[in-house]
Amino acid sequence: MSVVAAVGDDALAARLRRRQHVARLFVASCQAATLFGLLFLAVLLVDVVRAGAPYVRPELVTNFPSRFPDRAGYLSALVGTVYVAGLMAVLTFPVAIAAAVYLVEYAPRGRLSTLLQINIANLAGVPSIIYGLLGLGLFVEFLRMGKSVMAGALTLGLLVLPMAMIASREAIASVPYSMREAAYALGATRWQVIRHHVLPYAMPGILTGTILSLSRAVGETAPLIMLGALQYVPFLPDSVWDFFTVLPIQIFNYVSLPQPEFRRVAAAGIILLLAILLTLNAAAIWLRNRSQVRW
């Protein structure tokens, strides 16, 4: 600015000042936009905690749902969430990891491989409610599983499979090729290389990805409404063929009730749900930081 002024072109100097003024305003609005998201998150959390805090007490996790807000709890929903998410993890993650191993280590580069990649990317973009329709049509009606824990776990499994697969693929692909070559040089077979060298090194990354997809499944509501939409589940599932409810659905039920007290019970449930998700995410981050290997 001063350089231009020294040259003596006042009009140019004025225009430059104006341009720089506009630029400062622009940077400020960019900062404001970034701040907006963070602020929104803060307001949301404060609002939920303020509304739900009075209901966060032991009864919240030891009581069944009730018509009376003071007695309403989340026991069956909490147990249902653990059942469904646990069963889903056991059924889905081995398949996801195996598929990722196949894609990275075995699949011939070519049309089939490209087709698989595009297909997985597309699956990840299918709305979750569509998986609910799939679960309803395929598991509940066609395979006659009923609206059971098993049907719920399988439905959620299909939903998170692409996500877990993509995460595992990234982890496996990031193991450098020299690791494999060293093992091959010692006469190891392909599976031995994968089993003893690639997988152990990729495991932290795989676990991080699977934990994140697990937390996605725990927070998911829409597809399970189609399978576990029972308004009132005052019992715990005995087997995987029983009815169930999960935390987000129970929250949905409480929000939908007309009495304002139930909104507060719902807020307390949200605190519970967020606490679980936060724990899962923290575990994933801890795992990633602890075992981050720089090649």
Binding site: L138, M226, R263
Partner: protein
Amino acid sequence: MTRKKRRVGERLIESGLAVCGLWSILITLSIVGVLLFETVAFFRLPIEATNPEIVSRRADLQRFAEARPDLVGRPLALVREFFTETTWSPLFSNKRFGILPLVAGTVLTSLIALLVAVPIGLLAATYLSEFASARTRARVKPVLEILAGVPTIVYGYFALTFVTPLLQDYVFGQAMAGQNALSAGLVMGVMILPLVASLSEDVMRAVPVDLRHGAYALGATRMEVAVRVVLPAALSGIAAACILALSRAVGETMIVALAAGQTPNWTFNPLETVSTITAFIVQVSLGDTPYGSVEYRTLFAVGMVLFLMTLAMNIVSYRIVRRFQEVYL
């Protein structure tokens, strides 16, 4: 001998893994299969209703034939009604099957979400990519991405119990319905905000630094570099991010089911209660719909429409990204 055994074992393992790899194709096929099967069944209702033997056996078909005698034997009339008429009431005794109100609700809430997410997301991406220090970026970006990880039921709760009362009390008064497209759209915009911001930031940072230096050398300010050089260079990637965000908004369920309402309304007034395709699916699932009933089949017919809408957007977005990637390689 052992080498031979080993080779057999290797083969077995490889084929086992291949089956898992192909599993994803099977999922896609079963999604398309289930949707297609039930959608065809829905559009065949008028044909089934012409067969007195089936109608006398099935209460649902009886109800359908009684509610819509004008459709019996005219499958094409049902197809035309589905795509062109503006009343959607398959749950009432007066059954109408015009999907347009649901599509309107879906489009309305999604567009409001885009109006929030695109400007704010782009500004945030510009800040993170062009102005923020590396340390600020490393801290802010993950926090911003937490927004995408908040369960949608939480957003739905927030839209219904915080945003709507706030807007009613201070802006719109009683003109705003307790459940409305605006609150749902606004909060949904925040949900997809990190998608726009994060993906756009990635493509903006991929713009070669030489381009920026060229502009600086000509005397451009930082804003001029960001808006006139980086933004146009990253435009295709940004467009892909926005389409992906739109697709996410179209498929989002819990926010609209809670905050937008469940009344199919042929309107584009954001203050009114609307229903979206996803909200309708939730609404039907909350009741007890017996397998094979008319209501059960409409679920899959509207689900098919939703699936095709999001699929089209995902494919377009994927194509744009692929073409974009080639530019700087």
